[in-house]
Amino acid sequence: MTITASSAAAAPTGTAQGGAALGALDTVATLEAFADTMVPGEKRHRHDRAVAGAAPGPGAVHAGAVTLLQLPELGVGVLLPELAALLNTEATAWALARGHVLLPSQPPFVALDFEDRTHLAGKLLSSAGLHQKVYVLLALFSAAAFDTAAHLHTTDALDKRHPGLTWLRFPAPGTDGFWRYPTYSYGKRLAHEHPHTTAGGHPA
């Protein structure tokens, strides 16, 4: 199965309930909503549900989180529908426990507001539950899309002004694609050294 972030962004999402089989677009929307909880960004269009619009500028979704998760080299692509279903099951339980009514037109995690997504994600990531490690991986990969453009060669990502690397103000390489810093030091002694330092610079 191929799922695409762009199609999900453009189309309204389906009606999957927690635990039920998800359509491709529901899977994408759910993963996007989780990634957006990790590194939030502004909505891509007026009807964007997956991206909550909690922060100005780009977030993990704009940075390519779903594309990264589907990289064959990562090896987690086949798990994504199941992972999205798990997230939606948790979201349904979260909403029920609090008497929140979720719009049935959205996957449950997408239907949560940003504050609920944040609290639920915090619980899933910090609890010692069976799936905690899986959620942590999902969080790490979401962030890696933003912080490192891990689905792109770094020089290409910088050429394309990747949103995350731009946000960090990641420095540019030389013309050969390698980084060098001919100027790199304050160039002066900035502290006294420990009196018990050996001739080789080691602690005694």
């Binding site: 590194v39 962030a143 960090l168 103000r169 502290a191 080789g200 610079g201 602690p203 005694a204």
Partner: protein
């Protein structure tokens, strides 16, 4: 089809612990085969690239229960991906007792008895003393903050050819410029020149008694698919008279656990007493204005710092809290270090424990990324890690490219927590003084994080708490040696690579002796890989006075 071969010495792993004995044994005349789980890459392959599939081929992130460990996975092992800080362990470390109440290191080992072996290593991978004008901006900033807070700070000795180094900060990817002294540049080519055979993508699975007369052990391996390490392309076995285990502190104990029944039992201490070197990382969100105002620094006209991505990853370090007279579990070093963006998520932005490391404020913190400064505390932990039942193959269950799940469980004791708290307080005392920065320890959502796994199969004098004797031989298993970080008995309060290497140098003569006793025609006494002999003269003097 399974093929059984024979050799004199079989070495498992090609990092510091494997390359050094491989060289000495081969140079002494033994037939040596080295089996390495990871791929073989060289400087031309080491790109400056954060794409999954580039550096992730050679480094693994292994999640345990309560701890996550970063470990090398390639020919050359962790020496290829390490940050080259090369420090001798402080003298008091060798006297540590932990919570067991007795000296944990073998009596034969002290700083002064290990110094000649450190000398030997430093002869081969020259350790440079950075001058202050060679310490990059982040190290300079940390030093200036220490000075202002009434502390001392030292440039860190690094195994780097400073003339070749471009201060690119891509050490985790392997050094493209061959400036970092990895095993690929010294011991391994020397071992190969002396006849050792190094086989990449060979993952050892079990060790059992050999069936051929005159051979002791039969080591079975699988050959890994270079594009997906979860898949196997074949299998085989090698019989050897001597086996040297150097698969790393995350690999060696697991391999022995899987082989326990085949070997007729293994020492109780195998897979216990794991140490993460007491590693503890904090991020400081530096106020650029205060850097200029309080420290008077300027990295470029009008910019005080913004130097986080620049430099060698490790620049400066405070030895102030390495006081031999202080109580155990209160001593640590504090080191300026750079972590690549892959770890950015772990920096905390707020005090809300649930969501301190992700969300809106965290994204805002990222906008000041170039003004981050990270510090690593290396503390005295309590060797509280323990491996569970081994997985069917390998040393952990690989779930994605470069990501695995380990059975290692780590629950910091009150002693370890005391050390971490003291280190956190010291980092704050130095860096938050007058609002210079805001210090945040990394989130513990993945437990603690260590790039320095140690002690899971350690040396010692007490059979109940050490798997190896003071010659690095596995108790009850003649001719089976362990020479990687697993053998180091305790956390070191400094980066461990030089100590692992020095212990491997020291063990090499015992392994040569063991091989000779097993009928191998081998002699100890090779010069340094480049032919230098000063280090050899130093240790031979020591050996002759035994």
């Amino acid at each position: 089809m399974s093929v059984t071969e024979r050799t004199d010495v079989l070495v498992v792993g090609s990092g510091f612990g494997g390359s050094i004995p491989a060289y000495h044994l081969a140079a002494g005349g033994a037939r040596v085969v080295v089996l390495e789980r990871g791929p073989r890459l060289g400087s031309r392959d080491f790109a400056h690239d954060q794409r999954i599939g580039s550096y992730t081929r050679i480094v693994d992130l292994v999640q345990g229960d309560g701890i996550t460990v970063v470990a090398g996975n390639c020919v050359g092992g962790s020496s290829v991906v390490y940050f080259a800080a090369s420090l001798r362990a402080p003298s008091f470390v060798f006297e540590r007792q932990g919570s067991l109440g007795h000296r944990l290191w073998p009596n034969a080992l002290t700083r002064s008895t290990l110094d000649p072996w450190y000398d030997r290593v430093e002869e081969t991978l020259p350790v440079a003393q950075q001058r202050w004008d060679q310490v990059p901006y982040p190290g300079g900033l940390f030093a200036a903050a220490c000075e202002r807070a009434g502390r001392t700070c030292n440039p860190v000795p690094v195994a780097v050819d400073l003339a070749r180094c471009t201060n690119c900060n891509w050490m985790l990817n392997g050094c493209h410029f061959d400036a970092k002294r990895s095993m690929l540049l010294n011991y391994l080519p020397a071992a190969t020149a002396a006849g050792a055979e190094v086989r990449a993508l060979h993952e050892v699975q079990t060790i059992a008694p050999a069936t051929s007369p005159g051979y002791r052990y039969r080591v079975a391996y699988t050959v890994l698919d270079p594009d997906d390490y979860r898949l196997s392309q074949g299998a085989g076995a090698v019989e050897a008279k001597v086996v040297v285990l150097a698969g790393g502190a995350m690999g060696t104990p697991v391999l022995l656990q899987r082989s326990a029944a085949l070997l007729g039992g293994i020492p109780r201490a195998v897979g216990r007493y794991f140490s993460g070197n007491g590693d503890r990382v904090s991020i400081a969100d530096v106020d650029e204005g205060k850097v200029g105002e309080l420290l008077g620094l300027e990295s470029s006209p009008g910019t005080p710092y913004e130097g986080f991505p620049v430099g060698k990853p490790i620049g400066s370090m405070s030895y102030d809290r390495l006081d031999a007279d202080a109580e155990e579990f209160t001593r640590f070093s504090l080191q300026q270090i750079y972590f690549p963006g892959i770890t950015n998520i772990l920096a905390q932005a707020t005090d809300r424990p649930e969501s301190s490391w992700f969300g809106v404020e965290k994204k805002e913190l990222r906008s000041r990324w170039r003004s981050w400064l990270s510090v690593l505390a290396m503390t005295e932990d309590d060797n509280e890690g323990r491996f569970g039942l081994p997985p069917a193959t390998g040393s952990f269950t690989r779930v994605a490219s470069s990501v695995g799940l380990s059975t290692l469980r780590y629950r910091p004791t009150a002693n370890t927590l005391r050390g971490w708290k003291a280190a956190d307080e010291e980092a704050r005392a130095v860096l938050e003084r007058d609002g210079l920065a805001r210090v945040r320890p990394w989130s513990e959502v993945v437990g603690s994080l260590s790039a320095h796994p140690l002690s899971s199969c350690r040396m010692g004098d007490d059979p109940a708490t050490s798997a190896l004797d003071d010659r690095n031989e596995l108790r009850g298993h003649p001719g089976l040696f362990v020479t990687d970080g697993a053998a180091v008995p305790t956390s070191l309060c400094v980066n461990p690579s030089l100590t692992i290497a020095a212990l491997a140098e020291r063990a090499s003569r015992h392994i040569v002796e063991g091989a000779a006793e097993s009928g191998v025609d081998v002699r100890y006494g090779a010069p340094a890989p480049d032919g230098s002999t000063a280090g050899r003269r130093g240790v031979l003097k020591l050996l002759n006075h035994r």
